[in-house]
Amino acid sequence: MNIKQLMKHNETYILLIILIFSAALTMINPVFLTLENMFDLLRSSSGTAILAIGVFLVLLSGGIDVSCTAIAIAGQYISVNVLIATGIDSIALAFLISILIGVSLGAINAVFISIFKLPTLITTLGTSSLYHGLLLEVVGTKAVNAGDLPESIKAFGKIEILTLTRADGSSYGLSIFFLILVILLLLTWFILKFTMVGRGVYAIGGNAEAAKRTGYNSHKIQFFIYCYAGFLAGVMGVMHISMIRYGNPNYLVGTELSVIAAVVLGGARISGGTGTLTGTMLGVILITILEKNLILMGLSSYWQQFFIGVVIILGVSITYAQNKFQARRNLSIGGA
């Protein structure tokens, strides 16, 4: 691929921005470019990345999902409470319950979107309020402290797939979260690339009517998309609590803006049909670096939301302005 072709891809620009940004951060504080810091970034951004995969799929199909964080917190909080109530200390059961909840809530989203043909934004705004309200009303609002948390969940967050030793003998390592993310990425990539339903996601995002006439079952595809996004949110929910070792049913909800920002930055268009997993992951990296290093740059954490807003605006402006001027150029060529 030559440079001219490369410059047409959103991914190239994001990669450049990430590199420039990292270089600047390293100059300010050399700690940034250590393996330890990289491992830490990977560990803390895995959760966002997993939610981003789900949101990416939804965007690819021409929708938008703001309920992913509500689903993740529902899966997390219910599964942890079940574990505590029953006394069964098993991380596998936690994941199973959380994933089941995620898939069911995703299916409810799909019922509204696929069968009743409601706009995706309004549906997921509604369901996110519904799920979260119901969780707080029925399950409760009590926070789960580290002391009450099942041992297996705490232990899971500490598993490392690669352990390195520092000069002073203490060790640091690459968290298992990264492995989970890689597995889920490969799975999603495989589904999108090699399965009928995966190709269908692109197809209904590109043109729903055309996809239907080609013989794609749009109900089946939409149920798959929202259930899969729910599944990812369920996985993320348990990962999140085992990372921070504290369960609060008010956490996560409200962070969907950063997730959507990451996906949109990655070049996925809300009109559907375009976007890549690579772009999405680059978007997540950029957003995470930005969020985690504002203080390093000498700005207080108050600036976080402001910067995410700026980044989204810049990202979408570039994507859509390119699109608009491209269309105009094509039109004028066609006219001549």
């Binding site: 309004i122 009303e137 979408v316 859509y320």
Partner: protein, 348 residues
């Protein structure tokens, strides 16, 4: 003229409004029967009338964006930003001893300028760059809310001149001033939508941007104006917000976003654009406020309300879908009957 308008409201040109009116009356009846000593008291009615205007302005704002087929997710953030700007001026005036009148004029000016700029930003992103309204306003929502957090460092600003608090808390002949302001704004919006070129063009763009463009409508100009008006209404909401609470905390009223979308959709505005009317939206706002007060009197938790609003939004949307489906099916049946009729007429 006035009686003609009244007549039109009573006879319900729009069948959806008839349904809404029946729902509204049914809810009032249920509430009144369930708690006669608490609901139909003048104090409760007065408090209801003073509670909803701050949110009513946001609903009007959302309505304008939705009629053009867009959405404005930044309304609450705009209200926060303008609220912070006004609150800074007002609280500084109390500290410096500036006359309250001057400070109030300056605060209102600040609100107008800030909201106009915010709306211009939204409108430019949407109309010039072709960014979908959802994404553009999602980004500016973060930006505006972030700015209000940065400006206040997350703390609340309080202590405004006494005179300013009359807007949110005062009564005129027993009617809350904020309620009067809301009715005036709703009337102006209705004039804008029904009597002006801008309003007509907004409906046109909502129905089909391509057709309106080829009919000679300057879509860009109309959309930028729409989002500026939207932000202006959101800014006016902040006047009532800060004067009612005598303080401004960034992040205030984030629950209003969902409720604004809920009442606008409930009021018969099509989320795809092109349809919507003020009486419907006002009735929807009343329905929401009456239900809200009822739930408050019955001491339901805020979580249950959160659940309720999500549920109500989805229910209304599903019902709209089913009704529309039925009516379009009936239309097709009628049309096929018509053709059969003419067919036989021709052969005989």
């Amino acid at each position: 003229m006035k009686s003609a308008a009244m007549l039109r409201l009573v006879t319900f040109k729009n069948p959806k409004n008839k349904t809404l009116f029946i729902i509204m009356m049914a809810i009032v009846l249920v509430m009144a029967l369930a708690m006669p000593s608490k609901f139909l008291t003048s104090i409760n009615i007065q408090s209801m009338a003073s509670q909803f205007p701050e949110f009513g302005f946001l609903a009007l704002a959302m309505m304008l964006a939705m009629i053009t087929g867009g959405i404005d997710l930044s309304v609450v953030a705009v209200a926060n930003l303008t609220g912070v700007a006004a609150a800074k001026i007002l609280s500084a005036s109390v500290e410096n001893g500036t006359p309250a009148g001057t400070a109030m004029v300056m605060a209102v000016l600040a609100i107008l300028v800030v909201s106009a700029l915010a709306g211009l930003a939204n409108g430019s992103l949407i109309a010039f760059l072709g960014v979908p309204p959802i994404l553009a306003t999602l980004g500016t929502q973060g930006l505006f809310m972030g700015l209000s957090i940065v400006l206040t460092k997350g703390h609340s600003i309080s202590g405004f001149p006494e005179e300013f608090m009359v807007i949110g808390n005062g009564n005129f002949l027993g009617i809350p001033i904020s309620f009067i302001l809301f009715l005036a704004a709703a009337y102006l919006v209705s004039v804008l939508l029904n009597k002006t070129q801008q309003g007509f063009n907004m409906f046109m763009i909502g129905s089909s941007p391509v057709v309106s463009k080829f009919s000679g409508v300057n879509n860009t100009k109309v959309l930028i104006k729409t989002y500026m008006l939207t932000a202006l209404l959101a800014g006016l909401a902040s006047v009532i917000m800060i004067s009612r609470a005598n303080s401004m905390r960034p992040g205030y009223g984030t629950a209003y976003l969902l409720q604004a979308i809920l009442v606008v959709v409930l009021g018969g505005v099509d989320p795809d654009g092109g349809f919507g009317n003020i009486p419907g939206v006002i009735m929807a706002i009343f329905i929401l406020q009456i239900t809200q007060s009822g739930l408050n009197i019955l001491a339901f938790s805020p979580f249950f309300k959160k659940f309720m609003w999500g549920f109500a939004l989805l229910l209304v949307m599903v019902l709209n879908y089913l009704l529309q489906n039925r009516s379009s099916r009936r239309k097709i049946r009628l049309m096929s009957n018509d053709t059969k009729h003419t067919d036989t007429g021709e052969t005989v």
